[in-house]
Symmetry: C2
Subunit: 212 residues, 2 copies
């Protein structure tokens, strides 16, 4: 569109590359930034630059972190013997929001998907195994608490399930002392049985629990 | 949320201040930027900075521009005798998209709304009158073509209508030689009469045209 000055067009293009932001929305956001005060617009630009400059991955769990270790791995009050395995750093947030989990995490960086060419070597699965069974020559202070339970919290999707089963099989064999659990799958709270899909209802049935 | 490093939280906050971007979306966009390559993420930051540094308002029509005059006002092929009055720079885009208008623009910067404290002095209405009736002492080369028609293309809303009526009344009195027109209001193309609202249908009726 010839009526846009090149810097405006460039901003619309860049905004349009964000996920879920279509052409119209990108245009609306660009005009918002043009109308916004210099200070507000530059605060966003600075926040992007800062996040790219300062945020890396935690050396222990591969969560996002602004230091060598993330806030959860640095928190001595969190149970180091309990590790929750998730696909992405963003999966940690909903779990933290429940306030039900007081252990630590391990971020795989995705899920196994041979069809997309994602094999175990592409994920941080080997690093998980090293955390569970540290090599004999590891310095003692690096692994003060042995891991006693691994909660597999990959998504309840085909690839997430496959990843969980893959890790569970390995741990059962290589680290039989460790309990391996999986997030429960079933009806979401507030759901209506009438409208539940068969797969979810099947899971809810096969995973039924005795009422105490 | 204690599990976010401060730079990540700051980015989520800044993204959440964009219009139509809620908390969840801001988080999703932030994680996208974190996953994106350094180059891609910084391209967005740069585009924002550049747009704020280089884009100002056209000295003639107040459209966004990267120079003293916008591309439309600098385009000698555009009819300088025909001026379309719009509320915001973003309103120019859909009009340009029709390829039906070959004149120039005048951006008011909003619409009259006494309830929100927006009076004629807060808009670029005086500047429009100066364009239509240049002062006698204006340098000749600044106004080569006299304006013969003003198309009022403010929104078909209460405030947009009020603004159009206000400008039309003034021009009728002060510049009777100028034709003042208003965008037609009526049924959108492809609409269904059965579902048209009374106001729109009323406008379509009162604005009916003879078929040639």
């Amino acid at each position: 569109m010839s009526s846009f000055a090149p810097p405006v067009q460039r901003l619309i293009t860049e905004l349009g590359r964000l996920p879920g932001i279509g052409g119209r929305t990108a245009q609306r956001l660009a005009f918002h930034l043009l109308r916004a005060s210099e200070e507000d617009a530059l605060a966003l630009a600075e926040a992007i630059k800062e996040v790219k400059a300062r945020i890396g991955l935690c050396e222990v769990c591969f969560n996002l972190s602004d230091g060598p270790r993330c806030r959860i791995c640095s928190d001595e009050r969190r149970d180091a013997g309990l590790v929750c395995v998730v696909e992405e750093p963003s999966d940690i947030i909903p779990i933290e929001r429940t306030h039900e989990f007081h252990g630590r995490y391990h971020v795989l960086g995705g899920a196994l998907s041979p069809i997309d060419g994602i094999d175990p070597e592409d994920l941080r699965i080997a690093e998980l195994y090293t955390r569970v069974t540290p090599p004999a020559d590891a310095p003692q202070d690096e692994h003060p608490t042995p891991i006693r339970e691994v909660v597999l919290a990959t998504n309840p999707t085909t690839t997430g399930e496959a990843t969980a089963l893959h890790i569970a099989a390995h741990l059962r064999e290589q680290a039989p002392q460790v309990t391996v659990t999986r997030l429960a799958s079933g009806l979401p709270v507030g759901a209506d049985l009438e409208y539940a899909d068969e797969l979810t209802l099947g899971r809810a049935l096969s995973g039924r629990r005795a009422l105490s």
